[in-house]
């Protein structure tokens, strides 16, 4: 198990955003988390790389215990890459420097090595010719592909995707999902929060349906998406499909 989440609880005031969630993820597994807005999907993801504190429970990521006082936070974040809904590229840096920065200051790579790695990854996401452009000159879909390349440049063992297509124009969603599919096919361990049910059906090894902070149903897409047992899953899917 590369990720072990046991009885995770994360409260915002009186509301339990994540309410007693347990989840195990194998190396190389692609887990897609679906569910209505406010069901705690994103919060669960953010707990995994300590962007979000949690109240109780235990998270172990690649043998690193995720703790409240963040003693191993640095080691943890090296293993876990994250892509955000709002891209969050660094607007003052060119595309290539977005990818090079953390490689240099965190991974301590030489500039040549970091640039070479960055160019290779830009090729992988199909944006070789945009290396010198600035984020604001790119479309949303292009920015998100750069964000994926930036996260991958750190050689993470796990990739977290937090609604990465939700802020995109419809015609750009495909190009981002395409990159993610290739990544999944390459054996990356992925946790994907998304509303793209088609993507879940095609790529997920396992689908987790969450509602009100709880895991309602989990299983292969052929079950959770095509033949859900739980009533709430059925209701949700009937609305989004």
């Amino acid at each position: 198990m590369i990720i072990e989440i046991k009885n995770l609880v994360c409260r915002f005031g009186d509301v339990a955003a994540v309410d007693d969630v347990s989840l195990m993820v194998d190396k190389g597994e692609v887990v897609v988390i679906i569910g209505p807005s406010g069901s705690g999907k994103s919060t669960l993801l953010r707990c995994l790389n300590a962007l979000q504190d949690f109240d109780s429970g235990e998270i172990v990521v690649d043998d690193i215990l995720v703790e409240k006082n963040h003693r191993h936070i640095h080691d943890l974040r090296l293993e876990v890459g994250m892509v955000f809904q709002q891209f969050n590229l660094f607007p003052h840096l060119s595309v290539i420097n977005n990818i090079v920065l953390a490689q240099k200051v965190v991974r301590k790579r030489s500039k040549e090595e970091a640039v070479a790695k960055g160019k290779k990854l830009l090729g992988m996401v199909g944006l070789t010719e945009k290396a010198e452009a600035f984020p604001a000159q790119l479309s949303g879909g292009q920015q998100q592909r750069v964000a994926i390349a930036r996260a991958l440049a750190m050689d993470p063992k796990i990739m977290l995707f937090d609604e990465v297509t939700s802020a995109l124009d419809p015609e750009m969603i495909g190009e981002v999902l395409e990159v993610m599919k290739r990544l999944a096919a390459g054996g990356m361990t992925m946790l994907v929060v998304t509303h793209e049910i088609g993507f879940a059906r095609e790529v997920a090894d396992r689908v987790v349906f969450m509602d009100n902070g709880r895991v309602i149903e989990t299983g292969p897409p052929s079950v959770v998406i095509d033949n859900p047992r739980e009533k709430r899953t059925q209701e949700f899917l009937s609305k989004v499909l």
Binding site: N49, L51, H74, R77, L78, V80, G81, M82, F84, Q86, N88, L89, F90, P91, H92, L101, A102, V105, V106, R107, F134, P135, A136, Q137, A147, R150, A151, M154
Partner: protein, 227 residues
């Protein structure tokens, strides 16, 4: 009439020649005190947003105290109060007073500049494994630069004007030289007109420099970046 005009021209020229040697001192005081204000302001501004609460509170107190006391009083306090104990000369005391005063204003400008950058930028940097310090240094502060440049430049121009207050402790800069000239020759209108004109020439020049810097610091397409 012609005689009057030529007399006036000679008078103005005489005043100008008397005052100009003092101008470098005004510039030196301004540059030294503002350099001090930049360094102190950056430190205090970052302390202000520290997660360690007593550090943040200490910085807050510094800002409130310094901003709440008139600069003139601070100059007196540092030169006559502290100066007596620490043996400060006029120049050092003046630079310290103006520098400390402006550091409080700059700290607030820097703090607001840092806070103006979206949470997403912090999270993106941290998710890449950067420490809080690295995040500030490589991601947040470079973006804040463009935001804080105009108000910081305004403070620089204001500090140039406020350097005239240092004349009160006998530091011989532009305003002091004006007072000297006036007390020797008793031409008030012409003297202070020229003093004002020299300050104006300096501040307008600085405004132009600031405009240029703003252009240099702008990044391609950055202005249209959606939040």
């Amino acid at each position: 009439m012609i005689e009057w005009i030529s007399k006036q021209v000679i008078l103005y020229w005489d005043i100008l020649r008397y005052l100009l040697p003092a101008v470098p001192w005004t510039i030196l005081i301004t540059i030294c005190s503002f350099a001090l204000a930049l360094i102190l302001g950056m430190i205090i501004g970052i302390m202000r947003i520290s997660r360690i609460s007593w550090v943040a509170r200490l910085a807050g107190m510094y800002i409130n105290v310094i901003r709440g006391v008139p600069l003139l009083v601070q100059i007196f306090f540092i030169y006559f109060g502290l100066g007596g104990i620490l043996n400060l000369d006029r120049f050092t005391a003046g630079v310290l007073a103006v520098g400390i005063c402006y550091s409080a204003y700059l700290a607030e400008i820097f703090r607001s500049g840092i806070e103006a950058i979206s949470v997403g930028q912090h999270e993106a940097a941290q998710s890449l494994g950067m420490t809080r310090f690295q995040t500030l240094r490589y991601v947040i502060i470079p973006q804040s630069m463009r935001i804080v440049l105009p108000p910081t430049a305004n403070e620089f121009i204001a500090s140039l004007k406020d350097s005239s207050l240092v004349s009160i402790i006998g530091m011989r800069e532009l305003t002091r030289a004006g007072r000297e000239y006036y007390s020797q020759y008793f031409v008030d209108f012409q003297t202070w007109f020229i003093v004002g004109l020299i300050y104006l020439a300096m501040t307008l020049t600085l405004s132009k420099v600031v405009k240029y810097l703003e252009k240099v610091y702008s990044v391609k397409g950055f202005g249209s970046q959606k939040a």
